[in-house]
């Protein structure tokens, strides 16, 4: 399967009028959000009408500990510019220790990706509780800005 980056923004080409300037590149971030905290936090951000860049695609997982390292690698391969894994604060895990597991795995995973040549800022883990709508907003805004500065991730995606 070819993941040609040039082929992706086709829908924009169709909608844009001929005179319109080409759409600026927007980062695509895949966010794995735990059902019990971060997903609720994201929901709260939405309910509170907090504005944040539309760059994140949230995937609800039962626990941040559910995020298999293969998911992260696959996300980068299929065109993600950044990956965010977010779950409950330490001590608050619905399953008592899942987020501690995430923390350990994240550190090792980040080391591996860094060794492979990936900028570590593209792969982040955060603790966002169900009441932290503003934190979710800030996290997504910050990460979008960071990744905008880094530019599109072309490193893994066209390999397949």
């Amino acid at each position: 399967m070819s993941l040609n980056t040039e082929a992706l923004p086709k829908s924009q080409e169709v909608t844009a009028s001929p005179e319109a300037a080409p759409q600026p590149w927007e980062p695509r971030i895949v966010g794995f959000a735990c059902n019990w905290c971060t997903y609720a936090g994201a929901d709260l951000a939405g309910l509170s009408r907090l504005q944040y860049p539309p760059s994140i695609r949230l995937i609800r997982v039962p626990c941040s500990g559910r995020v298999n390292p293969q998911f992260v690698i696959r996300a980068f391969q299929r065109g993600a510019d950044g990956v965010l894994v977010a779950g409950c604060h330490p001590g608050d895990c619905h399953y008592s220790t899942g987020n501690y597991f995430t923390r350990r795995r994240f550190l090792l995973m980040q080391r591996l990706l860094e060794y492979m040549g990936m900028d570590p800022r593209r792969f982040q883990a955060r603790w966002i509780s169900g009441s932290e709508g503003p934190k979710f907003q800030q996290t997504v805004t910050q990460m979008t800005e960071d990744i905008k500065a880094l530019g599109p991730n072309r490193k893994m995606r066209d390999v397949e």
């Binding site: 298999n68 390292p69 293969q70 690698i73 696959r74 391969q77 330490p90 220790t97 501690y100 597991f101 923390r103 350990r104 795995r105 550190l107 090792l108 995973m109 080391r111 591996l112 060794y115 492979m116 040549g117 990936m118 072309r154 490193k155 893994m156 066209d158 390999v159 397949e160």
Partner: protein, 337 residues
């Protein structure tokens, strides 16, 4: 004897251990010789490439090919044997998964050449000469095979019918495979000779709770021979590795290194092992976790020791962000398919 089976053995990017493994079936080699004619086996018999080229297509019953594919010559031989064979078996970890040679996929061709032909202490190369595909000399052009930027496992180059993993495959497995072929009782195409589960499943060691306060390399401690090695802080790939080897390394008080590749249902052995290692770290404190993880020297090497060519990571990401496998090389491979 006209109804004898016809075998071929060939080696690509490998160490030669797989060839020795064939001989390790000891006196059973006589049974093999009794039931099969060996048409190609560079390490032991004197048939050349042109002998194979002159055979009719599908003449060879089974080709056992070991080693990863690093050069254009190796690809050519693999393609030739595929054409001339009814069945191709990827023999050993390198052919099945990429093996140790594919760890070079964490570097690119330029880095490898730089290291091998300039930097190594034993190299004396003041003119900075690198191997060339073609060198013009007064006597004529000299040619060398193209050194790919990437090491491929066999099924990325040609169609493969069966896999015999292991570094090297064990004599029992080889005997079982040859017996299955001779007795015409072959498993479904694409099958891996080996167990369906993990090495941990067949490991006899006592397994209790896995909580580790420090990782050790094998030369640093003398482990308890009865207890799970991972629990003793030695990185053992058993939980992310297919069984069928008879836990040979663990019987010798050495950790599993993962040469059988991932078990059924796992796409990426290294990613799985990474998850395992992060479960056993016994700390919830960020600083302490960092210290413990720092004790894992060379994570990429540990996690993907035998399966780098099969990993989702595929290749070291180069600085220019371009495709890590060179486009020309890929199109060549695709044409070949």
């Amino acid at each position: 004897m006209a109804d004898k089976l016809k075998f071929a053995f060939y080696w690509n990017a490998s160490c030669g251990g797989c060839e020795i493994a064939v001989l390790d079936i000891h006196e059973k080699i006589l049974d093999v010789a009794a039931l099969a004619d060996i048409l190609l086996w560079p390490v032991a018999v004197d048939f050349k490439k042109h002998h194979i080229r002159d055979l009719p297509d599908k003449h060879i019953d089974v080709s056992f090919i070991n080693g990863g594919t690093r050069t254009s010559e190796q690809r050519e031989m693999a393609e030739l044997l595929r054409r001339k064979s009814k069945v191709v078996v990827a023999f050993g970890a390198c052919a099945s998964l990429g093996g140790i040679p594919s760890l070079a996929n964490f570097h690119n061709r330029e880095e490898i050449f730089q290291r091998a032909y300039i930097e190594t202490p034993s190299t004396d190369n003041p003119k900075g000469i690198f191997p060339q595909v073609k060198t013009a000399l007064p006597e004529g052009d000299l040619e060398l095979p193209l050194f790919f930027n990437h090491v491929y496992r066999l099924d990325q180059v040609i169609a493969v019918d069966y896999y015999l993993p292991g570094c090297p495959p064990t004599p029992d497995m080889i005997a079982a495979a040859v017996t299955a072929i001779a007795g015409n009782s072959l498993p479904p195409a694409g099958a891996v000779f080996g167990g369906p589960s993990t090495v941990c499943d067949s490991c006899k060691r006592v397994k209790q709770e896995k909580k580790v306060k420090g990782f050790h390399r094998i030369h640093e401690i003398i482990p308890d021979p009865e207890r799970c090695l991972l629990e003793q802080g030695i990185i053992c790939a058993g939980s992310a590795t297919r069984d069928g080897c008879g836990t040979l390394c663990l019987n010798a008080n050495m950790p599993c290194r993962g040469c059988f590749g991932p078990p059924d249902g796992v796409a990426d052995q290294g990613a799985k092992l990474l998850s395992v290692l992060s479960t056993v770290v016994d700390s919830n404190d960020f600083g302490e976790i960092e210290k413990l993880i720092d004790q894992i020297a060379d994570p990429a090497g540990y996690l993907y020791r035998f399966a780098a060519a099969s990993s989702l990571l595929k290749h070291k990401l180069t600085g220019d962000g371009k495709s890590t496998v060179q486009a020309a090389e890929r199109s060549q491979l695709e044409v070949a398919k």
